[in-house]
């Protein structure tokens, strides 16, 4: 599954679509290197195709739109610097996610640290409501479980890819996913689903 932005009148709408694998750095013929202007144009196309979806995924992880846009920007900036090399990859978007997801996880880690520091000096906030909606429940998951849930349910990533993006083994990713779903079921007062098969 990949994502594509289409124009509908003045609005660009990004949708999930089956993967079409463009070779972003390809010159006109086989074995030819793209010129600088071709690379620039390819980067712009790639940016317009993927920026929205990277931002959306990161937003679902960090639950903060402005920060999600900043993180997506940082990831695309790193991509820009390495674009001549990355453009030749089969799936530059996979490389991009391997940059963006850890940035989001790092952001969550900083948040957790700050909330612990704040907790030392400030009175505790009121406990979360007993029956949160789905998104709020996702936001209450530990970060690895949250990332696994978003990547699996929003991006339809198989366990192997989730493991690669989280930087852990497949078994660990499966555990994160399973525990995340079980915790969500508890929070939402539902029966837990079966473990992921992929």
């Amino acid at each position: 599954m990949s994502f594509v932005t289409r124009s509908h009148g003045d609005q660009a709408v990004t949708q999930k679509v089956p993967s079409a694998r463009p070779r972003w750095a390809a010159g006109d013929g086989p074995g030819q290197r793209a010129s600088t202007s071709e690379l620039e144009a390819a980067y712009e196309t790639f940016f317009r195709t993927h920026f929205t979806n990277v931002t959306r995924t990161v937003h679902l992880i960090v639950h903060d739109r402005a920060r999600a846009e900043d993180i997506a920007q940082d990831a695309f900036l790193q991509l820009f610097r390495d674009w001549p090399r990355i453009a030749a990859y089969e799936r530059p978007e996979a490389w991009l996610r391997r940059v963006a997801i850890p940035l989001a996880v790092r952001g969550l880690r900083r948040d957790a640290l700050w909330s612990r520091v704040r907790g030392l000096f400030l009175p505790r906030l009121a406990p979360a409501p007993a029956d949160p909606d789905v998104l709020e429940a996702v936001g209450r998951l530990p970060r690895a479980q949250r990332v696994a849930i978003v990547l699996h349910y929003y991006e339809d990533r198989p366990v192997a890819e989730i493991a690669a993006l989280l930087g852990c083994g497949e078994a660990t990713a499966r555990v994160h996913l399973h525990r995340g779903r079980r915790r969500l079921a508890e929070l939402l007062g539902e029966e837990g689903p079966d473990a992921p098969r992929r």
């Binding site: 932005t5 609005q11 660009a12 712009e44 940016f47 317009r48 920026f51 929205t52 931002t55 959306r56 995924t57 937003h59 679902l60 739109r65 999600a68 846009e69 997506a72 920007q73 695309f76 900036l77 820009f80 610097r81 909606d133 789905v134 998104l135 996702v138 849930i149 978003v150 349910y153 929003y154 779903r181 969500l184 079921a185 939402l188 539902e190 029966e191 837990g192 689903p193």
Partner: protein
């Protein structure tokens, strides 16, 4: 609705509400990429400017004729911080050691 479907639906709905201004972000990323290339150049300019200032200050405070005199007559060296011990002192110390 089963939990899996509920979850997918909620995440899809939430994500669909996020429509960043892609053109603006592209311009920002390009601008930041250009800025990233600057520090080395800025550092070189800053070092060159600092060197020029130091050289100018040194040129304004040092008397070239005084330096020339001191080079031609080593015994009369009396620059700040220089040893005030004379050659006679060295000779007497050498004499004391040998004799």
């Amino acid at each position: 609705m089963p939990l899996d479907d509920r979850l997918r639906q909620a995440l899809d709905d939430e994500a669909a509400g996020i429509e960043p201004d892609v053109g603006r972000h592209l311009a920002v990323v390009r601008g930041r990429a250009r800025e990233r290339g600057m520090p080395a150049r800025r550092l070189a300019v800053a070092v060159a400017a600092a060197t020029a200032v130091v050289l100018l200050a040194w040129g304004a405070t040092i008397d070239p004729e005084g330096i020339l005199d001191s080079l031609l007559e080593p015994q009369s060296v009396s620059a700040p911080g220089a040893s005030t011990r004379s050659l006679d002192d060295d000779a007497s110390i050498a004499g004391a050691r040998t004799g």
